[in-house]
Each structure stands twice: as structure tokens, then as C-alpha cells.
Symmetry: C2
Subunit: 229 residues, 2 copies
């Protein structure tokens, strides 16, 4: 009478689980170990909570956990993370482009909707936008089948003085920071020349699209740059 458990049936993931997987992916992408504290910090949770959840996710085969060492996504965990990431970024793009939601609000809004929107709906939105490859902050949008460009670009804080570059992406984590970067015209696609960098984490002299600006190291670390093609 009752449903026999089908081993391969991918039970829908809960919102918290999707958030954990996304956070782990993100931290790993940054080249760091997805350690308990790092996750707790990123998710604004107590380390004790993370410990418990990580154990559970490991037992579900979504990640591997070496105690005291951190978590690494398995193939299935990674693909779940990318599915969520795709939703998030398609939503961000759609909200910004079609509905005119401000640059600095789309992240928070997408953060909620990504757990509720169906894959078909996400695909519809993507198609309506012409299947964009990047979201409004310049982050690459995974395809339906989980393919993403994972190139890690340099940060404006590390960009060599005297060199020109294009803004590839900006971090979407902090709305206030985003507003600030927006005022400086530091959006994906902007052309940047780095003129001078004061030592000891001092301000950086740049010009953005020809306009001279000074920006601090924290803001500079939120901006990713590549050489002009």
C-alpha cells in the first residue's frame, strides 16, 4: 500500500538544503575550504547548526565531509547547487531587465524565489531574455544541464597598475556596496584604467570609462576584472 522507497528518486530539496549547497559551491569556487565556520558565517547560522546539517547532507550523498576539515560537494551535490544557482541568476536577470527591480534589490528577491520557481518557469524566463549568459552582476548563468564558466577573474584590488581592464562582474552580496559601485559606473562591461595604488591597503586611483575615481580596497575587492580583448 505505502510507497516503496525508490532509491534514485531525487526527493525535492528543501530551501535550507539548497542554501547550504549553494554556499558550499560558492566558497569552494572562491578557492577556499567549505569549513564549518565559513559556512556558518555565510549563512548567518551558529556553527553547531552547520555541523549537524553537514552530517545530514553527507549521509544523503550530497557532499563529503572530512571532520574538522570541511565539506566538498559530490557530483550530485554540485549539480543541485548549479540548479539553484541557475534559478537565482535567471531570476535576477529577469527581475532587473523585465520588471525593473533595482540592481541592489534583485539578489534578495531572487534568494527567496529561487526555492519556489519551477524549472520550466525558469526556462521560460531565460528564453524571454534570449537565454543570457550572465546575470546583471556579471555572474555566469549555468545552463539547464549544469554547464558554467568557472573562470576566476582577478580583483580590481590586485589589478596591475598602469593596465586597462574590463569589469567582468561585481559581488551581489551587499546591496549598499552595489549601490555605491553603481554610482561609480562600475558595472559589468565598464572600462577601467588603474593609475596608482597607495600602499598598505590604500585607495586606488582609477578611471572608469575615462572618468577619474578613487576607490578603497574593500570596494575594489568586490570588482572582478579581465584584460580587454
Amino acid at each position: 500500500m505505502s510507497e516503496p522507497p525508490v532509491p534514485s528518486a531525487a526527493a525535492a530539496l528543501t530551501a535550507p538544503v539548497e542554501d547550504y549547497l549553494k554556499a558550499i559551491y560558492d566558497i569552494q569556487q572562491g578557492g577556499n575550504a567549505a569549513t564549518t565556520n565559513a559556512l556558518a558565517e555565510r549563512l548567518s547560522l551558529a556553527p553547531a547548526s552547520v555541523s549537524g546539517m553537514v552530517r545530514r547532507l553527507a549521509s544523503q550523498g550530497l557532499l563529503e565531509h572530512e571532520p574538522y576539515r570541511g565539506a566538498r560537494l559530490t557530483a550530485s551535490g554540485r549539480s543541485a547547487a548549479l540548479r539553484t544557482l541557475r534559478r537565482h541568476r535567471v531570476l535576477e536577470s529577469y527581475l532587473a531587465t523585465v520588471l525593473g527591480v533595482p540592481w541592489d534589490d534583485v539578489h534578495a528577491e531572487a534568494e527567496q524565489l529561487e526555492h519556489a520557481a519551477s524549472d520550466v518557469l525558469i526556462d521560460r524566463m531565460a528564453r524571454a531574455l534570449g537565454d543570457p549568459m550572465f546575470d546583471p552582476h556579471g555572474a555566469p548563468i549555468p545552463t539547464r544541464d549544469g554547464v558554467v564558466d568557472e573562470t576566476r577573474h582577478a580583483t580590481l584590488a590586485d589589478w596591475p597598475v598602469g593596465t586597462r581592464g574590463t569589469v567582468m562582474s561585481v559581488s551581489d552580496k551587499d546591496p549598499a556596496m552595489l549601490r555605491y559601485l553603481g554610482e561609480l559606473e562600475l558595472r559589468p562591461g565598464a572600462m577601467i584604467d588603474v593609475h596608482n595604488r597607495a600602499p598598505y591597503d590604500g585607495p586606488i586611483d582609477v578611471s572608469v570609462g575615462g572618468v577619474p575615481r578613487q576607490i578603497g580596497p574593500t570596494a575594489a575587492r568586490a570588482v572582478r576584472i579581465a584584460a580587454v580583448a
Copy 2:
């Protein structure tokens, strides 16, 4: 150090709570008592679960519960229900109109999204549509301040033989039913003449926009009609 509980701070409602309130509103709107069993049926939950939740909601002031009698929304419960209903119906309208989601899918999709979308986003969507008053199934959309037309229209099953009417709305609960009604062109705005009704819940002879049709009583009860203006 810790937050003192602010009595009037409207703590965000959880998705299950919003679902309960919506269901109670709906049942009351149908003129019935929001009894435990009715709620359990509507929400596909065990009666025991409903009992517990109803007690909790009563203690939060969202409804009044007379044991063994049923629940009635308080003013604040009602306004929460209408807020959710607005979200639901704006979402349905937006998905159908702008994104081309099929008539019979919008309900399920909106059911998820309604708990995640912010009020500002909903307002943006509504504005993009020109602040429509009805959703794709003809149900009235509450305004931001919780005003709705609560007129209860007659059902096609009760519509007097020999009379003409306009379809005001169709029930969105069952996708298969919706598809069927769609095939018969029974959409809001359609013109209907009722020619004959066989006794004992028999089929009804109608014409829809001039085309003769026969429909059964169950489908007829899903269609609401008003006199032509």
C-alpha cells in the same frame, strides 16, 4: 541584549500558515463553516494536524476557534489571507499573460511563488499588467489595501434554463478540469445560453458563443455565471 517581543510587530507568516488562512477564507467565502475536516480535505492534511494548527493560529490572533464548531478569521487573519490571495492572483495573471504559462499550470506555480514574492514585486507585476481586476480564471484580485469584490455568482449548474449569461469565472483548482473547460471555450467573458437541463444531475445543453455543447454537472459547478449587462 535580546530582542524584547514587540506585540504589534507582524512577524512574517510561514508558508503553511498562509495556506491555512487562504483555505479558511476560501471555505468561508463559499458560505461554509471552516471546519476541521473541511480544512483537512482542502489542504490534504490529516484532521489531527489541522486541529493543532488551528489552535496555534487562534493563539496568534489570526482566527477565532470554537471547538467542534470551526474557525473564523479575525480582521488580521482576513487581511493576511487577502494579501496572499492578491499575490496568488497577480502571479497567475502575470505568468499567463507575460510569460505564456498555460492556463492550467499557473495555479500550481503561483501556489509556490505566492509565499516567496515580496509585496513590492507583486505590485510591480500588477502595474506591468495595468493593475488588472481579475486573474485569468476570472477571480477578482484584491487591491494592495485588501479590498475585493466578494460577490458570489451563480453556477452554470444552477443557471435557469432559457436564459443567457456571461461566464464570470472558472475554478482553478483542477488543471484537468481547466483544460477541459478551455477546450469548450468556457473562459471568463464567454456568452452562454442554457437550453435544457436533464433531471437528476443530468447533462446540460448549452451554447457557448453560439456553438452548441453538452456538459455534465460537475464541470458546470466549476463555472460561475452572471446575467448579461
